[in-house]
Amino acid sequence: MEWTLTANEPGKVCLMQGNEAIVRGALEAGINFASSYPGSPSSQVLGMLGNVAEERGFYAQWATNEISALQGCMGASFANARAICIMKQNGLLVSADALFCGVQGGVKGGLVLITSDDPDAHSSTNEFDSRNFAPAAEAIMLEPMTMQETKDMIPYAFELSERHHQLVIVRVTTRICHGRGNVVLGELPEKAHPIQAVDEWDRMNCVCYEHQATLNKLKAVQEEFENCPFNTYQGPEKAEKLIITSGTGKLYAKEAISRLGVAENVGLLALGTLWPLPEKTITSYMKEAKEVLVLEEVDPYLMTQVEAIAGRYGLNIKFSDRGTNVGELSPDEVLKAISALTGAAIPEKRVKQNEQGEKEPLIRRELTFCAGCPHRATFYLLKKALRSEKIPGISIGDIGCYFMAGGEAGFFGYQVCNAMGSGINVAQGLGQLTSYGLNQKVVTMCGDSTFFHTVMPGLLNASYHNSDMLMIVLDNSATAMTGFQPHPGTGITAMGKTVEPMSIEAICLAMGCSVTIADPFDIENTQQILLDLLQQKGLKVLIMKQPCATLKSKQGGPKKTVRVNPDKCLGDGCGCDKFCSRVWGCPGNSWDFENGKAVIDPVSCVGCGVCAKLCPAGAIEVEGGAEE
């Protein structure tokens, strides 16, 4: 797809993913600076920008966290650079202080903040609606509804930002980021946006006396939004029944209106400007309406706003919604809601059926670690160590692939998981209580990328106050969850430059922590190390070093062949009871139902050979491959 991203062929129609449309929009805006921390669903954006940054003459970086990314963009904007910052919903929360202050400080060069929400939490721990952040921060917010709009909205947002000297948030959701649609390419600028010297008397300060000026900017933007091409209406001129929506709701509603055949008697107002809302435009449609259906996902953001508008204008309207504030909108749900609004019957649904006339069930995929994942070994060892205590120890989780360890994949390996970088802090609190009557060991963990992201200040706090706890750094040399983006430990940058990698060990030592390094695949020794560390008082750091299995298979090389010797395998007999496939649970360990024996799935197996070390009957054999 990269050929399309930098192809200067205005008018050409390309099938693009939403994330690609964001990239293309940024290139058409002539950005100078891009910074991001990866997070689904917008993880890919900066990776693609990084790949073309040199060619297009701008700077791109993976920042260590979202607030660093946003404040970096503010610095660039101060020299008139056009800066784009990309983060997921949780990242917006991480950068909240910068955002709220940044709005009062204003911008010089255009600053566009992309926040990607994940309704239904497909790739997140929680669903969160960033729309509420716009009124709270008094910031400008836009939201596209199609891939074309996504691409077009970015240059528009930069111009808007520069016209009003204010940063602009563009909110997207998983369906936009990961969906695909046709996009007509615009023109790529010949040169990037001009950088300007910062004048001695230029200011971007967050000070209270700027508050009124900030609100005045919003007023001006609202005026502009009354005529914004991203707000659309379709339907009769005076619709008694009105649908108000934004984002994904628009396409679902269009489809439902067409399927129900109610285009003549229902109006559809789709809003691309989420804050400030074009109040006059909305009122002009609402005052004709008796009933208004608001279609949106997660929080009742639009509902609250349009109800307030109706109240201000004294409109007597019956409002309805989808009936829940949880999860994504679905076409079915929208169909039902519009059917209820209009009274039109729902046409029969076409369902894919198999030969027996039954609905084909989808195979349930379990949430688990990849075959050969080092985290599986770590959590296996940790579970055993915690259970070895007189009163089992307390385990606190964090955010990364190892989030899955809270379930079966990690032997229900932790009990608390809050936000990124939280594990160290939650554990630090618990660890202080061991001198006040808490007679349990406290353990927490974080990945290498998370370590750099938000764990470091917490670790410093824990070290300074000598919290009685064990911190395990799951160092798999990758930001694996989001797709192997470079982080400070990897020695490479978003633009492909090789740099000196940061050493987690050296950082921990500098923070005054005692550090032990172990290999989770060295089952016996590492188990003992864990047991021993738990007996030591004070703050301990254990770095579990073993590269991500996917990273290793990406690198290629001969892999070991793992086999089950069926003569030795105890199967489901006493002494084993399918230990490899049932408890260890690696996707490479499968079960032969016909013969009642364990079997290795050669497609999934990456040849790590850990199951061979654990097999109680010594029935798993490992052959060949490169020496470790």
């Binding site: 055993k384 070895s388 007189k390 007999g573 006493c574 408890v583 654990l614």
Partner: protein, 350 residues
């Protein structure tokens, strides 16, 4: 019910686990640390050997006894009985080494291994870090190294289970406290004939008299406190009139009032009704004959319970590796009273 769940709820959580290790060493699900039995992960079997071998799961011990011993030989207070001897190792280096009292167990084991009565032995000893652990001895030297009472009960039968599974030795002798001996005879009875873990490889069982075992953590603390942290080479509970426990280190022997020790007695030991280790080929304890501690402390008393036990004992005596002194009158009666006492106390508790 899952076997792992049954053991967890009916034995471990009820405080009835003896820490014998009978459930361990056969699968990845059971293990132990510091004398505590731990279920790491649930097994989905309902008929596990762990459950079948556990001495604290409901068992018809009368039927089990009748399977292995002559019912006519049974004395109600102390189980199968053929003879009582006051015995010690003839070799003074055994008695003066780490052995308890007269060093009879060590002498018998060494003799049994040298003369084909056993080809290996499982007994309580220490791991390389000095923690109590089961020891699998295939040489006389290894037996000698493990001699002496521990008072911390290691999961010795985990070691036995592993040795049996390996199927490399066919006459594995076992030195066992009463709880462990019960489990060993449960294993020998093959409750799961299809999965007997090579129980036929279990050889002679040498039982140890036992009053109670102590909590590991507490004992570690107490001995450290008493000895100032020196390594304890030997420890002993003195006869009741002394009311004390002794810890011996290189700098001498220090004693501590029994009142400090008794709170460390494991709960499950208070429910045990077997002082003389009634399931064994022969049982060995410290001599308590009435001749006085100064005499008795260098001697053991041995109850012969089975023909095999008798055979070993007589051969060892004949070979001169053990020696006996006249069994004082009333010695048997003293054991009966003490043993009946333990049974009475156990009944009160359970």
């Amino acid at each position: 019910m899952l076997s792992t769940f049954a053991l967890d709820t009916q034995v471990i959580k009820k405080g009835l686990c003896t820490g014998c290790g009978a459930c361990q060493g056969m699968c990845p699900y059971w293990g132990s640390k510091d004398g505590r039995t731990i279920c790491y992960f649930d097994c989905e079997r309902h008929d596990g050997r762990c459950q079948a071998f556990c001495p604290s799961m409901p068992t018809d011990y009368k039927a089990l006894r009748e399977k292995f011993f002559d019912p006519a030989s049974v004395i109600p207070e102390m189980g199968p009985f053929k003879a009582l001897y006051v015995v010690r190792a003839a070799d003074a280096s055994i008695r003066e080494g780490g052995a308890q009292h007269g060093g009879t167990v060590t002498a018998l084991l060494e003799f049994a291994m040298k003369n084909g009565f056993m080809d290996a032995a499982v007994l309580g000893g220490e791991d390389e870090k000095g923690n109590p652990a089961g020891v699998f001895a295939t040489t006389v030297e290894e037996v000698r190294k493990a001699s002496g009472s521990k008072f911390k009960i290691p999961p010795t039968l985990a070691t036995l289970n592993k040795a049996l599974a390996a199927d490399e030795y066919q006459k594995i002798g076992v030195v066992a406290t009463p709880c462990k001996a019960k489990a060993v005879y449960k294993m020998k009875s093959k409750p799961l004939p299809e999965r007997d873990n090579n129980a036929d490889n279990i050889g002679l069982v040498i039982g140890l008299f036992c009053g109670w075992g102590l909590e590991w953590d507490g004992l570690t603390e107490l001995s450290a406190k008493t000895t100032g942290g020196e390594k304890v080479s030997h420890s002993d509970i003195l006869p009741s009139k002394y009311h004390s426990m002794e810890f011996t280190t290189t700098s001498g022997t220090k004693s501590v009032d029994l009142d400090e020790v008794l709170p460390l007695v494991r709960d499950v030991c208070k429910t045990c009704d077997d002082m003389t280790c009634e399931f064994a080929d022969l049982s060995v304890g410290g001599a308590r004959t009435g001749d006085g501690w100064d005499v008795d402390k260098g001697w053991n008393q041995v109850i012969i319970r089975s023909e095999k036990g008798e055979e070993l004992f007589k051969a060892a005596l004949e070979a001169g590796v053990i020696e006996i002194r006249k069994t004082p009158e009333g010695a048997l009666e003293k054991i009966k009273v003490a043993s009946a006492n333990k049974k009475e106390k156990a009944k009160e508790i359970s």
